[in-house]
Amino acid sequence: MDNRSSSLADTLERVLDKGVVIVGDIAVSVVDIELLTLRVRLFVASAQTAREMGIDWWENDPFFAPRSAARQLAAENAELRDRLAALERALEENRP
């Protein structure tokens, strides 16, 4: 049963965070397992957020970042107001 195909994160998460824990005098403490496990958990969580999508795919997506949409709408609004003003001026000038 080769396991090269499993991602390192999946393997670390299982090997470090799961399985039988031996407690008591018989076990020798050789590694700060709590700290390593915490780091792996953080890594897995952040990898899940960003993986395969590029880190910033949502930043310009109006659904996930409504503020980027708001900025674009504000710009669009300003442009429309300018055009309206220009049209009104043109109308004024053409008035008999």
């Binding site: 670390l12 090997v15 799961k18 399985g19 039988v20 050789v30 590694v31 700060d32 890594f43 960003a50």
Partner: protein, 227 residues
């Protein structure tokens, strides 16, 4: 250099050739062990999750030994970094936890763990300049509805797979992950289990990442002491 007895797993006491690690047997149970220099584990870091980092190499090896045993016998994987005082300690552990460990081995026998992960799809980019205000609001609503449907779909996948497995467990979700489940499946039901994943993901338009088969890591969360 101080040396200790690294313990990989508890299994049944059978003849298994592991090319390195060996078995300490006691009343039908065995602990899979190898002598290690404990210095190898001191100061292990998890900064760069690279395949050639010392932690990754040791974790992959731990997994490989557990899997080698798992090919022949049911196995209770021990958590990474379990080092015992010596052979006496191993025998004390097997003696003190004989009933419990035997029951756990019966529970996982003939079963393998499968991981199933379902992510939300990244929505297609939209050209906002081409959208009217009404169209933008309609798109927002449609995406909220779609996200809701996908979340409900992921939950129904978990329920269906739980029915087809002996045990199941779900990890806390983070980011765009909608389901992160582990399932302990009878070997004879595996075909049915995978057919169900295919059917449901097709039906619901979801994409599932499947990992496994794993030894029953996620289903052996228990503490054993020597007394």
């Amino acid at each position: 250099m101080s040396r200790g007895l690294y313990a990989y797993a508890i299994t049944r006491d059978r003849r298994i050739d592991l090319a390195g690690p060996w078995l300490i047997g006691h009343r039908g149970l065995a602990l899979v062990v190898a002598e290690v220099e404990t210095e190898r584990f001191a100061g292990l870091e998890f900064d760069e999750p690279a395949e050639d980092s010392p932690l990754a190499v040791l974790a992959r090896y731990h997994d490989a030994v557990v899997r080698a045993v798992f090919q022949h016998e049911p196995v209770l994987p021990l958590r990474f970094g379990t080092v015992l005082d010596g052979v006496d300690a191993a025998l004390r552990l097997l003696g003190a936890r004989h009933e419990e460990a035997s029951a756990w081995l019966d529970r996982v026998e003939g079963r393998r763990e499968w991981g199933v992960r379902v992510r939300a799809a990244a929505p297609a980019p939209v050209d906002l300049d081409a959208l009217s205000g009404t169209a933008y609001l309609a798109m927002r609503r449609q995406r909220l509805d779609a996200a809701d449907a996908v979340r409900r779909g992921a939950a129904s996948v978990h329920r269906a797979l739980t029915r087809r497995s002996a045990e199941s467990t779900c990890r806390d979700l983070a980011g765009d992950v909608l389901l992160e489940g582990a399932y302990l499946v009878d070997v004879e039901n595996e075909e049915d289990f995978h057919a169900e994943i295919d059917r449901l993901t097709r039906e619901l338009g979801l994409r599932a990442e499947i990992t496994g088969p794993w030894p029953p890591y996620s289903f052996t969360k228990v503490e054993f002491a020597d007394a």
